[in-house]
């Protein structure tokens, strides 16, 4: 944007040189107009963070665009929707808890997708209050709009604390133009009145929730959402264009209580052992033998709410990181005592052939990956230069016209 502004300013200068002695008023306007536009474009900082209105998409635990695939006994507290796709598989054994409904390619799902598009656009359009690290682990954030460096991929490989500062309408929006990937050892903690229904994750591509994790908030993904095995989601998985994939997951309607509560979410894969590891230990390096997990999954203490998002009336002061601590190297988040749960380390052990321990059915590959970014030509057209060229040409033509009119003007001046 800055480059475009500079180029437009150059065009203005050319125009000024051409016509400055004839159209002083026009020149002033010519200079002021883009200046005002540029200033307007840079002054859009927001100190208030209203909630993101979900419309009818708030009625859904899961909403997808292409397919919904479930494995195992997933449970949805709210409705299941799909539009424009038609393939919902795995329900049953998956369960949609009444009064939730399964809306497969019907008008309700279509309307929900329309509302989701509006909500996504709303969330994506919010100016950020602060830039976070790409890994949100060990951050303690107040209400606000956040994005990682360059709006790049976000990950969560440790504890994240969202602090409502006593305001139940505090809104937390996380933006990424890329992926959101949470690790199996991640935790999200809401304190001081922060509420599950007011946490939004705007994901520009796809989201993946780590095995056994407990996640909080509304995922608004442009493409797909994969919820790995045994995840508890206090919120919604809403995918616009792609698939939602579930595997023995539990969706709880996000709470919207009016009282100040503290909700602690923990991450305990059922087949792993909870241990406390040294800070900075990379995830997945535990050496504890498998099999004796003592903490059951899904221990969130907040009861399911009504599943309806309140109208967009939240007025929360702009967010500022509250004493955020940079994540340690390796992102293991180990040793954190904020949640009192330590770190979950997945037992991996030594294996000879790596993925040979995968127990689920493995599809046969039938082709090679697509590893090109796009067509070789036709992209990257330098539009700013094109615009500048057009403006310069216009200024030149205008100058020539004025030149032709010059003698008449001069004669008028001479006559006067």
């Amino acid at each position: 944007m800055l480059i475009i502004g500079v180029l437009i300013a150059l065009s203005v200068l050319v125009g000024l040189l051409t016509i400055r002695r004839y159209r002083a008023g026009t020149v002033v306007g010519f200079l002021l107009a883009p200046t005002i536009l540029l200033l307007a474009g840079t002054s859009a900082s927001a100190a208030i963070v209203p909630t993101v209105p979900l419309g009818t998409s708030a009625n859904y635990s899961v909403l997808a665009g292409s397919t919904v695939t479930n494995t195992g006994n997933s449970t949805l507290a709210q409705s299941l929707g799909l539009w424009p796709g038609t393939s919902i598989t795995g329900f049953p054994p998956g369960v949609v808890t009444p009064p939730g409904t399964t809306d497969n390619n019907n008008a309700a799902a279509q309307q929900a997708q329309s509302d989701l598009t509006a909500a996504y656009t709303n969330a994506a359009g919010r100016p950020i209050d602060a830039t976070t690290t790409a890994d949100l682990a060990n951050l303690h954030l107040g209400a606000g709009v956040y994005a990682g460096p360059s709006h790049g991929a976000l990950s969560l490989n440790g504890p994240l604390t969202l602090d409502g500062a006593g305001d139940a309408s505090s809104v937390f929006i996380f933006q990424t133009n890329s992926t959101l990937i949470t690790g199996s050892g991640s935790t999200v903690s809401l304190i001081n009145g922060a509420q599950e229904c007011n946490v939004f994750w705007q994901v520009g591509s796809s989201a993946t929730l780590g095995t056994g994790s407990v996640f909080v908030g509304n995922i608004l993904a442009l493409t797909s959402i994969t919820v790995n095995t045994g995840v508890t989601v206090h919120g919604r998985a809403l995918a616009q264009n792609g698939a939602v994939t579930l595997d023995d997951d539990t969706f709880v309607a996000p709470s919207c209580a009016t009282t100040t509560t503290t909700t602690t979410t923990t991450t305990v894969p059922p087949t792993t052992t909870t241990t406390t590891t040294a800070p900075g230990t990379p995830p997945g390096t535990g050496t504890t033998p498998p099999g004796t997990g003592t903490t059951p999954p899904g221990t969130g203490t907040t009861p399911p709410g009504t599943g309806t998002t309140p109208p967009g009336t939240g007025t929360t002061p702009g967010g500022t990181p509250i004493g955020g601590t940079p994540p340690g190297g390796g992102g293991g988040g180990g040793g954190s005592t904020i949640l009192g749960t330590g770190t979950t380390s997945t037992t991996l052990g030594i294996t000879t052939l790596g993925a040979s321990t995968i127990t689920s059915t493995i599809p046969s590959v039938v082709g090679t990956p697509f590893t090109g970014g796009g067509p070789p030509a036709g992209r990257g057209i330098p539009w700013p230069a094109m615009v500048l060229a057009a403006l310069s040409a216009a200024a030149g033509v205008l100058g020539l016209v004025l030149r032709r009119r010059g003698p008449n003007r001069q004669s008028v001046q001479e006559r006067s």
């Binding site: 790049g152 990956p369 033509v397």
Partner: protein, 254 residues
């Protein structure tokens, strides 16, 4: 100098500037096009490399993998191959082409091909490597497959833009960030395949190893050695994808 002469001079300057900008734009587009068609040349070089590889023996002889340490498993064993990409604690280092990049563990797409994540033009995925979670851990006595993008949506070089320059004997290192272990491979061959060729089960088996093609996990290699395959796009962009793939084969040496 009269006033209208001055105007005329400025007008001429403005028009000249416009002409220069338009010419610059044309040159830029031409250069962009040239850069983006590089994969075609890549394919040619890859084929040549393959031919030379067939005639040349590896510079450094491979060692039995059983005598070498193997990185621990890289992902949760319960993670589905249908799940999205996950970070793995590896770095891929290829000194001869100045590659030193992080690695994502990727699964399989709905079309049953290895995933290669994409994103906006400045997304880090264009400069990352993708280890196929259905293949072996690099260094194990089987076949590990790592892919990378040849370019990004703007045609700029991707992580694997220059693997066509690899020659037999070039070093490839897979670094385990957890332990500091460097698993070292030596390039043994390179080959460019058309999409049709690459869909052939025999070729797929060479690329992925036998297990993934048969619907199994990685299986022990017949020669007892640890193999690494690098793959990226090449050729011409046709019907939404490049029409060739360049594949570099390597064997563990240390």
């Amino acid at each position: 100098m009269t006033q209208h002469d001055s105007i005329g001079r400025y007008a001429t300057v403005a028009l000249a500037l416009a002409a220069v900008l338009l010419a610059g734009t044309a040159i830029t587009l031409t250069v962009t096009s040239s850069d983006a068609t590089a994969p075609t040349a890549t394919a040619g070089r890859g084929t040549a490399a393959a031919a030379s590889a067939a005639a040349a023996a590896p510079v450094v002889g491979p060692k039995p993998t059983a005598a070498l340490p193997v990185p621990a498993a890289l992902v949760d064993s319960t993670l589905s191959l249908r799940a999205g990409p996950v970070p793995v604690p590896l770095k891929l280092q290829i000194p001869s082409i100045s590659v030193d990049i992080p690695v994502l563990g990727v699964g399989i797409t709905a079309r049953n091909v290895m995933d290669a994540p994409e994103g906006p033009e400045n997304d880090p995925v264009w400069q990352q490597a993708f280890w196929y979670r259905g293949s072996a851990v690099p260094g194990a006595a089987s076949t590990a497959l790592i892919a990378g993008h040849v370019d990004d949506p703007l045609g700029r070089p991707g992580a694997f833009a220059h693997i066509d320059l690899l020659r037999v004997g070039d070093l490839i290192v897979v670094h385990d960030a957890r332990t500091g272990l460097d698993v070292r491979f030596s390039v043994t061959a390179a080959q460019t395949y058309s999409l049709a060729q690459a869909a052939d089960p025999a070729v797929l088996t060479q690329i992925y190893g036998a297990g993934p093609v048969d619907g199994n996990g990685p299986t022990p290699s017949a020669d007892g050695l640890a193999h690494l395959t690098l793959i990226t796009c090449a050729g011409t962009f046709v019907n939404g994808t490049h029409d060739h793939r360049i594949v570099v084969y390597a064997t563990r040496i240390a």
